[in-house]
Symmetry: C2
């Protein structure tokens, strides 16, 4: 039975569900409730992390600083954290975060590109922060590849390595194999961030913890990209039921879920619709849904067949040209 550090990402990943429109008021009320419930780390910001607010991925109504100040002023015991994708986020953003009281920095990149996190991990460390190497789309890499990337993150001084299964593609056995490979490769702790596209967010958390993961991500009401994250209040209940130790109180976290839902009403909870299900099945990043729809319409092909093709091509973010290429091919096939 493991002792779990729970990382709630409602106020960061959940911002995707809310089209990045979280306000300082929403952040303050929710962070206070999470803190009262006993959650260990509260991640806050734009869905794409520090510096993410831009026209391309969605502009928020507030600055990163305003959101982080709202969170830091709301907590008594929890740590406030940020996510930073090098490129979106800069050193200056990290410095601002440290200045307002953020003490956890998760530096994120595609699962095979750990190299690009080195400078930011070291800078965050210099600023006195608890630092995390965060591997996006971890279901696109083999256990061996992830083990190698984790070793790099450890060598850059990361305090733990987080596997983010952004597409919700893996089944429990596949998650277990990845956690095991990383555990055998590094001495630092391991975290896991699931998505629910195949309805396995909670099942995969339990499999990850059974293999030694001790940092677990979730979000209230499951708010998050695609089919959403593991629902924090459900994950905490399931972890407790499975005999694991979680600091957060069950009634407290249920209260936090209610408070958050009231703040964002009438926004409904994420569900698994056919789009997110198919993206998870095919292991295609959720952001591709709009380019897929557009290309399928333009080239009159089956969008579902197109998603499967993209999965076979193992597209990563920002390869929208492949969508058009495959749509054209499918279009030819269907008219022949």
């Amino acid at each position: 039975m493991a002792k779990i550090t729970f990382v709630d990402v409602t106020l960061r990943d959940g911002n995707h569900t809310y089209r990045h429109q979280f306000t300082p008021e929403i952040v303050h009320a929710t962070a206070a409730a999470l803190d009262t419930a006993g959650v260990d780390i509260i991640e806050v910001g734009h869905g794409d992390g520090l510096g993410g607010s831009c026209l391309h991925v969605g502009r928020g109504p507030s600055t990163d600083r305003q959101l982080l100040e709202a969170a830091c002023s709301a907590v008594k015991r929890a740590k406030v954290g940020i996510l930073l994708l090098p490129g979106f986020g800069l050193f200056a953003d990290l410095e601002m975060a440290a200045e307002v009281g953020v003490s956890v920095a998760r530096i994120a990149t595609h699962c095979t590109e750990a190299d690009v996190t080195e400078q930011h991990l070291r800078r965050a460390k210099d600023l006195g922060m608890f630092t995390v190497g965060y591997l996006i789309s971890a279901g696109m890499a083999s256990p061996e590849q992830l083990a190698e990337q984790a070793q790099k993150l450890e060598s850059y001084g990361a305090d733990y390595v987080n596997l983010a299964e952004s597409q919700g593609h893996l089944v429990p056995g596949e998650v277990a194999a990845r956690i095991r490979a990383v555990r055998q490769a590094v001495k630092i702790p391991i975290g896991f961030h699931p998505h629910n596209n195949l309805g396995l967010a909670i099942g995969n958390i339990l499999a990850a913890v059974d293999e030694g993961a001790t940092f677990i991500d979730g979000s209230l009401k499951g708010f998050g990209g695609g089919a959403g994250n593991a629902q924090t209040e459900v994950a905490i209940a399931a972890l407790k039921r499975a005999g694991h130790e979680v600091e957060a109180d069950l009634f407290g976290i249920m209260d936090a879920a209610d408070i958050f839902a009231q703040q964002v009403a009438p926004q409904p909870m994420p569900v698994i619709d056919n789009d997110s299900l198919l993206m998870g099945y095919a292991n295609v990043y959720g952001g591709y849904i709009h380019p897929v729809r557009h290309a399928a319409e333009t080239y009159r092909c089956d969008p579902r067949a197109l998603v499967l093709r993209l999965g076979e091509r193992k597209v990563v973010a920002a390869q929208e040209d492949v969508v058009i290429e495959e749509a054209q091919k499918l279009s030819c096939t269907s008219t022949n």
Copy 2:
């Protein structure tokens, strides 16, 4: 890797979500889509099975016969099934079902009361039906108890035994232990019917199949009692991803989910709210939520504490007097 027989219960368990108001039109359209998709067995009727339509649990707009005729006239290859709880359902109901073309009869009772299914199982068998012994609230019995009950069902001629984890309380390891115990006790196949109160419907299905379950229940869009069932389209995708063989086609079942959703629009999909989460955590049957709310208000006690007490008391259906007794006790405690 297993070959799975998929049993879709949208048109029976999903009727709970729709307050038992399914019409022959909804049944016909949905059954046709499920049949086209390649689902093996389609269960149809009132949420509480044959004879369930009554003022106490909810009266439907159509007779059992009308719903079953709608389903039987819609299918070309799938079998149509019914659920029958002895007491609600009578021999005459079974005979009517057989007459209109129903070929699968699942005879259900509380997980420790297999005895009460014998007569109905034998009658269904005499009528030439494929018969199933169905153990409700299987998370309230130990693996050993379930093994013993399964042996009884086998001796009554059941073609398979179905463990229905009605409260969504179990974690995958607990499901595996129960399937294993039953597998070691009987020669007939084993089925599993999860609920999603702890977000583990799909994770528990994969655990059950890994231990040898070969009949799996689910419902389109997750419609079903409490936090809902395993979402059929998601379960089929996850089973395929895990390498198992399922006859149903993924795109076909996604189409069926859409067709069903259109039929019942604007009814939203079930989600895991705090009520269903707590009932699952405490292992208390979903039907208790209304008596709990009423008693908590009357006796001014915390409804959540009351649910936990009911879980400790291991209440089964129709013990509403215990709700009042425990509410009174909690009320005294809190005023002292």
